[in-house]
C-alpha cells in the first residue's frame, strides 16, 4: 500500500544517502518479503512502501541512539 508524503522528505533524503553507501554485493534480508539490494530499498523508500518507511525508522532510530550515547552505554 502506497500513501504519499508518509515520510518526511528530509528523513527520506538522509536515509537514501546512507543506503547509497552500501556495496552492490550486499543483500538485506527482511522477513518473509525478500532480499533487497540497496537500489531495491531506495525504490521502496521513494515509493513510501511499508518497507521503505521501516528503513527510515531503522536509520533514524540508530542515529538518534548513537547521538544519545545509548548504543555505547547499553550492554
Amino acid at each position: 500500500m502506497t500513501k504519499k508524503n508518509k515520510i518526511n522528505p528530509i528523513l527520506k533524503k538522509i536515509t537514501i544517502a546512507r543506503l547509497n553507501t552500501l556495496s552492490d554485493k550486499i543483500r538485506i534480508n527482511i522477513g518473509q518479503t525478500q532480499s533487497f539490494t540497496k537500489n531495491d530499498l531506495v525504490k521502496q523508500i521513494n515509493q513510501e512502501t511499508e518497507i521503505g518507511c521501516k528503513m527510515v525508522d531503522i536509520q533514524m532510530q540508530f542515529l538518534q541512539d548513537l547521538v544519545g550515547g545509548k548504543i555505547y552505554n547499553d550492554a
Binding site: T21, D24, N29, Q32, S35, I58, L63, I71, A75
Partner: protein
C-alpha cells in the same frame, strides 16, 4: 527425563539456507551436551511432521523460518504454527523463534499453550548477506546470526533465559562497536540493522527459566 531439543530448519531459499546452516552448529553443540535432538531439517520441517513431533515433550524448541505476527512457517513457507488456530501443548518448553514479528501475537499465544518462555522478535528480524558467499564464509551474516545462536547456546549450557538473552544482546552490541570502529564501507548501515534487531528482541514469560526446568 532426557534433555530434549526440537529444531525446525527449512532450507528452501536464501534466508532459510542461512538459518539452516547456523542451526547445525547448535545441533552439534546440543549433541555434545547429551541432548536428544529432533532435527526437522529441510523438507522435514513440514506441518505433518511438526504435528507428529510436537506431541512429544521438548525442553527447548528452536523454530527457524519466515514468520508474521500470527504465523511461523517451515518448508516452502507452509505454516507450522498459527495463532490462534494451532492447538498444541508446549509442555513448559522454552521456545525461541528466529523469525520475524513472532513476538507480537504468536509468542503470547504459545504462552497460553503452556510454553514457559517465548523468545522472539516483535518486528522484522533483519540480516545482511553478501552476494556470492556461502553461509560459512559470509562474515557479514555472522555479525547477525552469531549472536542469535548465543541465545540457544547459553540455554544449552544451563544458563537461564534472562542471562542467555543478555549474552546475545551483549554480543550484538560488541559487533556494533567492532563494525563502527572498522573500515567497512557499509559500517553505519550494518550497525543500524544490528541495533534494530536488539531493539525488537523480546522475552515473554518466566525469564528465570532454564532448560533443565529449574529456575535460577
Amino acid at each position: 527425563m532426557p534433555r530434549t531439543f526440537l529444531v525446525t530448519r527449512p532450507n528452501h531459499e536464501l534466508v532459510t539456507n542461512y538459518l539452516y546452516f547456523y542451526s547445525q552448529a547448535l545441533i552439534d553443540f546440543a549433541k555434545k551436551k547429551q541432548y536428544l535432538v529432533t532435527d526437522l531439517a529441510g523438507k522435514l520441517a513440514n506441518p505433518k511432521e511438526f504435528h507428529k513431533q510436537i506431541k512429544n515433550i521438548f525442553l527447548l524448541i528452536l523454530l527457524n523460518g519466515h514468520g508474521s505476527p500470527h504465523i511461523i512457517t517451515g518448508w516452502n513457507n507452509q505454516p507450522l504454527i498459527t495463532a490462534p488456530v494451532s492447538d498444541y501443548d508446549f509442555h513448559s518448553a522454552i521456545v525461541y523463534a528466529r523469525s520475524c514479528q513472532s513476538g507480537k501475537a504468536l509468542g503470547p499465544y504459545l504462552l497460553k499453550k503452556n510454553a514457559r518462555v517465548f523468545i522472539g522478535y516483535r518486528d522484522n528480524y533483519i540480516f545482511i548477506t553478501t552476494e556470492g558467499q556461502s553461509p560459512d564464509k559470509d562474515v557479514l551474516a555472522k555479525l547477525f546470526l552469531g549472536p542469535s545462536n548465543l541465545i540457544v547456546k547459553n540455554l544449552l549450557n544451563g544458563r537461564n533465559v534472562q542471562k542467555s538473552d543478555q549474552k546475545s544482546r551483549q554480543a550484538v552490541q560488541n559487533n556494533i562497536r567492532k563494525v563502527l570502529k572498522s573500515r567497512l564501507q557499509n559500517r553505519q548501515q550494518i550497525a543500524a540493522f544490528l541495533w534494530h534487531n536488539i531493539n525488537c528482541q523480546v522475552v515473554l514469560g518466566d525469564d528465570q527459566s532454564k532448560v533443565s526446568g529449574i529456575s535460577a
